[in-house]
């Protein structure tokens, strides 16, 4: 079911939570509303559900304006952050609740609940009560309950916020699979950029009540629309440069910045744009490897330049081993490409390349 959000705003008293937001969700899409806490993303989700009324603007579901349609009649499934399971009802009754309300026949209710228990791998738990379930199981009961009446849209508010890290990873993969199987239009809210990148088809980045950017995970990572997005998505090194005659400088670092007016500028570069060598003469700058963070296949290292500047770099485990790196080791490094960061909401210029361009591989956003 397609959803259109047209110019909606929402104020609570004097506080503007959502400010003229526009976007649309295609039928069958899996979309993330990403942003820092208090940025208004949950309010947008609740307005789609009908749990909040927009102060102005329209919400259209399948081309129909639904502003005046009550929550009960919008045919949406909503999964709450803390699940909001009915604690006095068993798992079975929780899932069957929506069906009972919609007056399904008892036989059909039973069949539908059985189907969902199967789909969500909850078989055998139907007689349990919410407090007798693990976090991951509760989460799945909440999703089953929301899906039971076959909603046109599934809305999830911070769906993985309340479970521990390992289960969260599993649930993410599982949500993608579920969405693939059911093809129900799904919108979820998260403050975790990694989660949004991994799970969704498209991301709407919302901060301070406004949309900062809409795009696929790759688009928002590679072409951030502004400094906020650039800093929010993935890790970024930020430096303040003093520009004189087309050359920007901070500490011992110098960058060619033709066409930039003299004065202060801010630049940023991703950790993958930093090249490291154990050969001290290979690259322009000397540095000491201060700390190594093991993230799995990739490692993140902190390099400290003699002037005290610290930059974060990313390196594969193989390269780390091949170069014989370890904490405290002297290395040389250079920065392959940098981005001129304008202030918030101003469009960014094209990537400013200092040496040569190697497109980043996927999985490098973390």
């Amino acid at each position: 079911m397609s959803i259109e959000i047209k110019n909606i705003s929402k104020s609570f008293g004097n506080v503007v939570a959502v400010n003229s937001v526009n976007f649309s969700i295609q039928h069958g899409e899996l979309m993330a509303l990403l942003g820092p806490s208090g940025g208004g993303k949950t309010t947008v989700l609740r307005m789609i559900a009908g749990l909040e009324m927009p102060t102005s603007g329209d919400i259209l579901i399948r081309g129909q304006r639904v502003n005046d349609v009550s929550v009960q009649e919008r045919n949406i499934g909503f999964v709450f952050q803390n699940y909001a399971l009915f604690k006095n009802m068993s798992v079975y009754k929780n899932i069957a609740f929506g069906l009972k309300i919609k007056k399904w026949k008892r036989k059909d209710q039973k069949a539908r609940v059985a189907e969902l228990l199967e789909l969500l791998e909850l078989k055998g738990l139907e007689r349990r009560y919410p407090h007798q379930l693990s976090g991951g199981q509760r989460q799945r009961v909440a999703i089953a309950r929301a899906l039971a009446p076959k909603p046109a849209v599934l809305l999830l508010d911070e769906p993985f916020g309340a479970v521990d890290a390992k289960i969260r990873q599993e649930l993410r993969e599982w949500l993608v699979r579920l969405h693939h199987d059911l093809n129900v239009t799904t919108v979820f809210v998260t403050h975790d950029q990694e989660e949004a990148m991994e799970v969704s088809n498209r991301i709407v980045i919302i901060a301070r009540g406004r949309i900062e950017q809409i795009g696929t995970p790759r688009e928002v990572y590679e072409q951030p629309a502004n400094e906020f997005v650039a800093r929010f998505i993935g890790v970024m090194n930020i430096l303040e440069l003093e520009v004189r005659n087309g050359i920007g400088q901070v500490g011992e670092m110098r960058f060619q910045l033709p066409n930039v007016v003299d004065g202060q500028v801010r630049i940023g570069f991703r950790p993958y744009a930093v090249q490291i060598s154990s050969d001290l003469s290979q690259y322009a700058y000397r540095a000491i490897l201060r700390r190594t963070f093991f993230l799995g296949v990739m490692l993140r290292v902190e390099l400290e330049l003699p002037s005290g500047l610290v930059i974060r770099a990313r390196i594969t485990k193989e390269d780390y081993g091949r170069l014989g790196l370890q904490d405290g080791r002297q290395v040389s490094c250079q920065i392959r490409q940098i981005r001129l960061l304008a202030h918030d909401n101003a469009a960014l210029g094209p990537e400013h390349l200092t040496t040569y361009d190697v497109p980043p591989s996927i999985a490098e956003g973390i």
Binding site: Q72, G77, G98, R127, R145
Partner: protein, 314 residues
């Protein structure tokens, strides 16, 4: 007691006990004191009521209960409780709902107002009603003209009882409702439930225990109230005596037999308290058992979270 640094340095792990485990003496002293108090102030008086009631044998006990005046007192007590408890449930639900789920001006005032009957002496409460509805009272002449009797009759006693039992249900429900929040109701809303269905299937069950405790307290007070009811009753034997009033009248009666009869009637009130407690315990026990059964229901073939991982790795 915190371990001393010296202990830590020695790595003395064997002594890492909690303070509560430290002294069995303190534990037994506390338990003993509590037990002694319970026996002395609760158990003994209760047993004594039954002992005194049966002092002249079972036949006399029965006789003093089927006495027409006692029967009338039982009926009146049941009538008063039967009216005031349901009204208090309605009021308690409405007030706690409003206080827990909505923000409005005068909320703090409403909460204070609910507590008022706790602060006012029941006798004063009774007098207030006499002043309002008595023959010389505020509405007295109007009521007299329309031949409506409130004071020295059942309606006045019901009013006085409602006043003194006013806070019980609401006071129990407000914290429970506040703790429950409104997310479950919102979830029911997204599943298409109407307001009434949400109340019946979601709100009411989730505050069930608070409501039950409130009703038990409210009922006990409604049946046991003396002061306020005494002031408005007029003490007309066989007409406006409730059980507590009847007990008092019998106890101050001239004969020793009448004192025993007083205990017989009093034992009814005590019995009532015991029955409500047993019922409550049974209900708790049944809930526990339901949970235990659900827990014992067939475990899924393996920890299902693990299955998910295995599948997604295929």
């Amino acid at each position: 007691m915190a371990a001393t640094p010296k202990n830590n340095a020695l790595g003395d792990t064997a002594k890492s006990q909690r303070a509560s485990d430290d002294s069995p003496l303190a534990k037994w002293l506390l338990i003993g004191t509590a037990l002694a108090f319970v026996t002395l102030f609760l158990l003994l008086p209760l047993l004594n009521v039954f002992y005194q009631a049966l002092a002249k044998g079972l036949a006399f006990y029965k006789e003093s209960l089927v006495d027409p005046d006692s029967i009338s007192a039982i009926k009146l007590t049941l009538l008063i409780a039967g009216i005031s408890v349901p009204l208090n449930i309605l009021f308690g639900l409405a007030a706690s709902w409003a206080i827990a789920k909505f923000e409005f001006t005068g909320k703090a005032f409403l909460i204070t107002l609910i507590d008022l009957p706790f602060a006012v002496s029941p006798v004063v409460a009774g007098l207030m009603f006499v002043v309002l509805f008595g023959r010389q009272g505020f509405f007295g002449s109007w009521l007299d003209a329309h031949e409506i009797k409130i004071i020295f009759a059942a309606p006045g006693m019901v009013l006085a009882t409602i006043f003194v039992t006013f806070p019980f249900v609401a006071r129990e429900l407000i914290p429970v409702m506040q703790a429950t929040g409104s997310e479950q109701e919102q979830a029911a809303l997204t599943l298409g439930a109407s307001g009434w269905k949400i109340f019946w299937h979601v709100t009411l069950p989730s505050v069930k225990w608070g409501l039950i405790y409130g009703v038990i307290l409210c009922n006990a007070r409604a049946m046991g109230e003396f002061g306020a009811v005494s002031v408005v009753s007029g003490h007309i034997t066989g007409e406006t005596d409730t059980l507590p009033l009847r007990v008092e009248k019998l106890y101050h009666g001239a004969t020793g037999a009448s004192a025993v009869a007083a205990f017989s009637v009093a034992s009814l009130l005590a019995l009532l308290a015991l029955v409500t407690l047993v019922l409550k315990t049974l209900l708790e026990w049944k809930t526990e058992r339901d949970y235990a059964r659900a827990q014992k229901a067939i475990e899924p073939s393996a920890e299902s979270d693990t299955i998910i991982l295995a599948k997604s790795l295929q």
